[in-house]
């Protein structure tokens, strides 16, 4: 008797267990609501460290429990791709890159519309947010994210090397080139200039050079502009700096960690990079030259000094989440004026005008960096990569001439090739 039923139950249990594991992946959103939890996915960043430390405050004040998942930049992107594609409701709040994934996510319907929420609270004050970042987190007139971190490209330089070579801090691109040349000639084993070299990674840092030479990725009518004369000059200038005065044997896969390492190991005099990464260069634990680093606004090209000024990260709410009100509570707290000031003091430039106006907001920054940021914010351009849906592919296309120039190939021909490919790409996105 007993044995018989065992077989039956075993068979049924086996079949069921497989079925159940298939649906048991996510605790339903209803549970999350009832239990008063909010599930937050954040990227590894200085900003995240600050928020993590403050979460207990939020939990106490709101009575909600925060479940935090923290991932590296690429893993985060892949995770979203998998989970949001599957329509998962396991994520409530997501930290995302408005300029990288924003358009694609909004188009796929992954991001909840926050338009009514942002305007509902006067003390939180949506109007306090700078215009550029707000534009980047608004898609088709709908607010889909709240900016949390802003970035501008600035010039990092080595005070001691400039002094030794007897050159002043460059104000124009020509001066930068001359200074890089002089340092690399007078100081053995030290590069005059270093920056990102990876085909895709370099695009954002190259963008400021492109604007300062009077170019852009697309023209006013949305056609490719990477084959224009201005763009060609910018490609050959940026790539040429690295090819002629960059590190010997330069790798063509460098993103910021690799380029930053060369600068902080004391192997380069000039380095252009996002200001939000400055702590890596001035923190003695991370940098051999911590006490010798100076900052300046991006040197002016033929079209002036036009660095990008962008929101690199924002917070959004997952459209599939059944817990959107709690998610918004978390965002409201994490982006409040007080929290933004705290984060900014810890070295994360924020998007709130009032915090920048407050002397406390820049009290912890090196003086020359604060000045460079203020100058860049006035003239900055609101995007640092092509504004398209499939940003990853576009970056590879428009980044190709940078790498070609660095490796000594024909820069102008590479720009023409990229121009055709980019136009084809833009046409395919319009379909």
């Amino acid at each position: 008797m007993k044995r018989r039923s065992i077989v039956k139950y075993a068979a049924v249990a086996a079949a069921l267990s497989l079925g159940l594991t298939a649906c048991g992946g996510g605790s339903g959103s209803g549970d999350a609501k009832a239990a008063g939890t909010v599930r937050v996915t954040l990227a590894n960043h200085v900003w995240t460290e600050g928020i993590k430390a403050a979460i207990p405050e939020f939990e106490k004040a709101s009575g909600l429990k925060v479940e935090l998942t923290q991932l590296g930049e690429d893993q985060l992107s892949d995770q979203y791709n998998v989970k949001l594609n599957a329509g998962s409701d396991e994520i409530d709040v997501m930290m995302y890159r408005p300029l990288q994934e924003g358009k694609a996510f909004a188009k796929n319907g992954y991001l909840a519309d926050l338009t009514s929420k942002v305007s509902s609270d006067a003390t939180w004050d949506w109007k306090d947010y700078q215009e550029g970042p707000v534009k980047a987190t608004t898609v088709d007139g709908k607010v889909v994210g709240v900016p949390i971190i802003t970035e501008r490209e600035v010039l990092y330089y080595r005070k001691d090397l400039l002094q030794a070579a007897g050159v002043a801090v460059p104000k124009t691109m020509d001066e930068l080139q001359a200074a890089a040349k002089k340092v690399s000639e007078t100081t053995p084993d030290t590069a005059g200039f270093v920056a990102r070299t990876g085909k895709s990674a370099a695009v954002t840092q190259f963008s400021s050079f492109l604007y300062s030479f009077g170019g852009d990725f697309t023209d006013a009518s949305g056609k490719s502009a990477v084959g224009s004369d201005a763009a060609k000059k910018a490609y050959s200038f940026y790539g040429g700096l690295i090819k002629n005065y960059g590190p010997k044997n330069v790798s063509t896969d460098m993103s910021w960690p690799e380029a930053m390492a060369i600068f902080t190991q004391g192997k380069a005099a000039f380095y252009t990079e996002a200001d939000s990464l400055y702590k890596n260069a001035t923190d003695p634990a991370k940098s051999k030259v911590a006490d010798k680093v100076g900052f300046a606004a991006l040197p002016a090209g033929p079209a002036g000094s036009k660095p990008y000024n962008i929101p690199s990260w924002g917070l959004a709410v997952n459209q599939a989440s059944g817990n959107q009100d709690n998610a918004w509570k978390f965002i409201q707290w994490a982006t409040s004026k007080e929290r933004t000031l705290e984060a900014q003091k810890a070295g994360v430039p924020g998007p709130r005008a009032s915090v920048w106006a407050d002397p406390a907001g820049t009290s912890t920054y090196p003086k020359d960096l604060a000045e460079a940021i203020a100058a860049s914010a006035k003239v900055g351009v609101g995007h640092d990569r092509p504004e398209v849906v499939t940003v990853g592919k576009a970056r590879e296309i428009v980044g190709a001439p940078i790498v070609a120039t660095i490796t000594g190939a024909d820069s102008s021909a590479a720009a023409d090739t990229a121009h055709d490919a980019f136009q084809k790409f833009l046409d395919s996105e319009k379909k």
């Binding site: 008797m1 044995r3 018989r4 039923s5 065992i6 077989v7 039956k8 068979a11 086996a14 079949a15 497989l18 298939a22 690429d74 992107s77 892949d78 791709n81 949001l84 594609n85 599957a86 329509g87 694609a104 188009k107 796929n108 319907g109 992954y110 070299t197 990876g198 085909k199 895709s200 590190p247 010997k248 044997n249 330069v250 790798s251 063509t252 896969d253 993103s255 390492a261 060369i262 190991q265 192997k267 849906v389 499939t390 990853g392 592919k393 590879e396 980044g399 790498v403 490796t407």
Partner: protein, 325 residues
């Protein structure tokens, strides 16, 4: 009646005198089920495993096949059109990314595999006979095997860094100019092959050593008596006897090497570098999915890749059957 009734028990009952003639009591549902369960024992016990395979292997494969016939992009849940074999035509006529990726996949696998088997055989032969301190040597040899491939990739990336890497500093000491290694367009693939060899040769050693220790001593001794030298003994006796084991090692390692992803991704990132220097099929398909969100094209690449793997496996198993005979 026991579930563990043997078939002999059943036949005994079926052929029992008077079976089927005496009016039988209608069996209860429970007895019905157990009789049914008894008859379908082999299926019932295999069912959990079969369902598991169905859910986790057959369904994803079928779904990939379906996706490869659509123009799915952006989001898998977005509306997509059925486009027949268009993706396959696009992929197969793509001489910029697809065919070079096929070439790189095959050369990566071929070179790495050949080196691993030859090296592995050599090391296994050295470890075959007992010697002092063999325990330590075995442990040392197995170390690369237990490291996480991504961590291995990161480690070598630092060692091979063109500017601050250990290798170039070492070469500098003996007067050799610094090499680009991973950052060179021509040297990157070779460097990743080296890493693969470093990490996976121990696995081949393990398999071959297991094969060697199970060989009988007689043929070898007989050859020794006949005055065969070490080379002759290896090439005419040990190697032919070891052939089935060698093919097992080649099969296991070959399939793995074809699918290599972690080392390549950890050292060169998305797209296999700025010039796609190390973009193998797996890296390419990954980029199509996660970077370009072109799920239809990516699925087509993966289905073709799957066929390449199945084909290679089939060739090797054929070879193994021939050798075993």
């Amino acid at each position: 009646m026991s579930v563990l009734n043997t078939s002999r028990g059943e036949t005994a009952r079926d052929t029992a005198p008077g079976a089927g003639r005496s009016p039988a009591r209608t069996p209860g549902p429970r007895e019905n089920f157990s009789a049914w369960a008894n008859r379908h024992r082999k299926w019932l016990f295999a069912a959990p495993a079969m369902i598991f395979v169905g859910v986790l292997i057959v369904f994803p494969l079928a779904w990939t096949l379906y996706l490869s016939l659509t123009d799915s992009q952006g989001s898998v849940r977005a509306a997509s059109q059925f486009v027949g074999l268009e993706n396959y035509l696009t992929v197969l006529s793509d001489v910029e990314r697809f065919w070079p990726a096929v070439g790189r996949t095959l050369s990566f696998t071929g070179v790495a595999l050949a080196c691993e088997v030859v090296l592995g055989m050599g090391i296994a032969l050295l470890l075959w006979r007992p010697f002092r301190g063999e325990k330590w040597v075995r442990v040392a040899i197995l170390l690369p095997l237990v490291a996480t491939p991504v961590a291995v990739g990161m480690m070598w990336r630092l060692i091979f860094d063109p500017n601050i890497g250990f290798v170039n500093q070492l070469l500098g000491m003996i007067g050799i100019p610094p090499q680009p290694w991973l950052s060179g367009q021509d040297t990157a693939l070779g460097t990743t092959i080296f890493m693969d060899i470093w990490q996976w040769t121990p696995m081949v050693v393990l398999i071959l050593l297991a094969g060697l220790t199970s060989l009988s001593e007689e043929p070898d001794e007989a050859a020794r008596m006949d005055g065969a030298n070490a080379f002759q003994r290896f090439f005419f006796i040990t190697l032919p006897l070891m052939m089935p084991t060698v093919i097992v090692a080649v099969l296991l390692r070959g399939i793995d090497a074809l699918k290599t992803f972690d080392i390549l991704y950890a050292t060169k990132g998305k797209g296999g570098g700025s010039f796609h220097e190390v973009e193998t099929l797996n890296v390419y398909a990954y980029g199509l999915s996660f970077d370009y969100n072109q799920y239809g094209l990516s699925s087509a690449v993966l289905i073709l890749f799957f066929m390449i793997i199945i084909g290679t496996m089939w060739l090797l198993t054929m070879r193994k059957k021939a050798v075993s005979k």
